[in-house]
Symmetry: C2
Subunit: 355 residues, 2 copies
């Protein structure tokens, strides 16, 4: 039995894996694999339609927004956002809360001016800057809701005079929020929504088509909307697994239901980090992520033996990112609280052994 705390591609529900494997052999009784059926078949179109409908239902997506399933990961959206939203000579505002936020910023520079309105880079991104002014002449403001590497998360969002664009790759579907606060949301699927290979985009239709730019078809959100995410062959299997994962989420009580579980999992683990004298947290208490729990050891020499103990318990994917060190326990939607308790037990056992 493995306990998968990997940061992404991350854990998926066991029943989703089972249904996915069945679909690879015989999809919905067609006698064909989901890997070899036409994306134009009624059977696949039903999958895509259900995936879109589940996103709209689970996130209460208001009228006037489109839901897309694209390829290329969040890193592609880093470029597509300014391509579609930043006019020539225009300016975009960015909040720099980590490596991914700053990569998004880097790509925007290919398309126009950028302004970093806040950054926590000077403290190695251990907190979320909260005190910033949104320039009213910006085409949009870009934020990253959860920072996987540092274990920080925006606890709330804000009203803005310009469209808010948010990279929610690592906490989409983990907590209740209001889509209406955003102009565009994007998320690589491989943390809370499905496997690597598909990116979800939710975009407010009215913010598109205002830049005057000529945009190649595959990079043009309007073309993708008009094509219903099927301008070309979509990543059928990744969409199928995402749809199954969203079905699973709905059956668990949807986003409000999973949010309560995520709060309980995070609380249990942070409580142990705070209690156990061998461990310490790495980021500001008020910005602690409910998805990626980062911690180090008071005595760095304890890290290797603790990792070995984790390995013996079937705990995998817990090594911290090289830029932070220590440990990172990713506790995405699909991770059961029992796995969190296995980790807590290991921390307590290690404390006992090292008294």
């Amino acid at each position: 039995m493995k306990h998968n705390f990997g940061a992404g591609p991350g854990i998926l529900p066991h029943e989703v894996l089972k249904q996915s494997a069945e679909g690879v052999m015989n999809f919905n009784g067609t006698g064909l694999s989901i890997l070899e059926i036409s994306h134009r078949s009624p059977e696949f179109e039903a999958v895509l339609n259900e995936a879109v409908a589940l996103v709209k239902e689970l996130l209460n997506v208001p009228e006037g927004y489109s839901v897309l399933f694209l390829q290329g990961g969040a890193s592609t959206e880093f470029a597509l956002v300014p391509y579609n939203l930043l006019p020539e000579g225009g300016k975009a505002a960015y909040v720099d809360t980590g490596v991914w936020a700053s990569k998004a910023l880097k790509e925007a520079k290919y398309f126009g001016q950028t302004e970093v309105v806040a950054s926590s880079k000077e403290s190695n991104y251990t907190y979320i800057p909260k005190d910033f002014t949104i320039p009213k002449d910006a085409a949009y403001i870009h934020i990253t809701s959860n920072n996987t590497i540092y274990g920080t998360q925006m606890q709330s969002f804000f009203k803005s005079p310009v469209p808010v664009v948010c990279d929610m790759s690592s906490d989409i579907f983990s907590r209740v929020f209001d889509v209406a606060d955003f102009g565009l949301i994007y998320a690589g699927a491989q943390k809370n929504m499905g496997p690597a290979g598909v990116t979800m985009v939710i975009v407010k239709d009215s913010i598109l088509g205002k830049t005057g730019r000529q945009i190649p078809s595959m990079f043009n959100y309007q073309v993708q909307i008009d094509g219903g995410s099927m301008y070309n062959t979509p990543p059928c299997f990744a969409i199928y697994v995402s749809m199954l994962t969203l079905r699973w989420l709905k059956a668990k009580g949807g986003v409000p239901g999973i949010e309560q579980e995520n709060i309980a999992k995070a609380k249990a683990l942070y409580d142990e980090i705070d209690r156990n004298p061998l461990f310490k947290p790495v980021c500001a208490t008020e910005d602690r992520s409910h998805m990626n729990v980062c911690f180090v050891m008071e005595n760095p020499e304890h890290e290797k033996p603790f990792l070995k103990l984790c390995d013996e318990k079937g705990i995998v994917g817990i090594k911290g990112h090289r830029s932070v060190g220590g440990f990172r326990a990713s506790i995405y939607n699909a991770l059961p609280i029992t796995s969190v308790h296995v980790l807590i037990d290991a921390m307590q056992e290690f404390q006992e052994k090292n008294k």
Copy 2:
């Protein structure tokens, strides 16, 4: 038992499907799914490395070329090719042999001048134009080796004074050819190589970096080369299934082995179309594709009942593209010759019934 003649996503070998399904439940004995392991894990890196090595071995890729696994399908490459190869103010040459070729051309127009050096559009693309001059001042010449909709295929390639860029989405790995004749080859995986969701690119390193363009990271072939197809999270599962398909191909005798099978399958089917008075081919005999066999019926009223008969025999995916009508039997690498004989038997049975 289904006989999958679908044009793509197309048939995959049964043993590849079986191994893929196993990987979804427990990948290589890790106790984790291929859908939930880190792309930076040694286990996944081994998959990607083997996929690249198999491409190089099966196609005899010469030194000085890089093999990439990207996302977005051939339609994304339609834009990435001029983005990376066409200088501002430069010109690219295109051979227009069908809908996909003309879509590639359309995307190039976002980046510079284009010249159509040959086209068979006036005959609804029923033949491959062969008599054209390559402009020496073009940055590259773009061709489409096989045209799925019309069932035409370039039977041979040519030497060129400028780099040849080829969309091989629908016949890659189906026949022997010399990679050295090309500057860049791209192929969506979902016909002969794997599932939808991954695109293979083979590029001659020396043709890159010459345009002076500033290219966003994800669209920059050099960035993807430097990142070993892992600049960001790759589509792990689609790469895994592609690797398994290439392993299967190698075990079958590689490209020379499958080419002989493909010739035999195509000959059997075209022979029946030529012999059977109820059916007729739609394109020039010398340009007949060994991948997509298009045909219509002498009496259009026969088409519906023949389709019904096919359905009864488990033959699926055989309806022709709406722009050509009739039938299209896609006989990709993974389609066994026994399935071709089931189709031929159905054609003969239909002839008997309609004497």
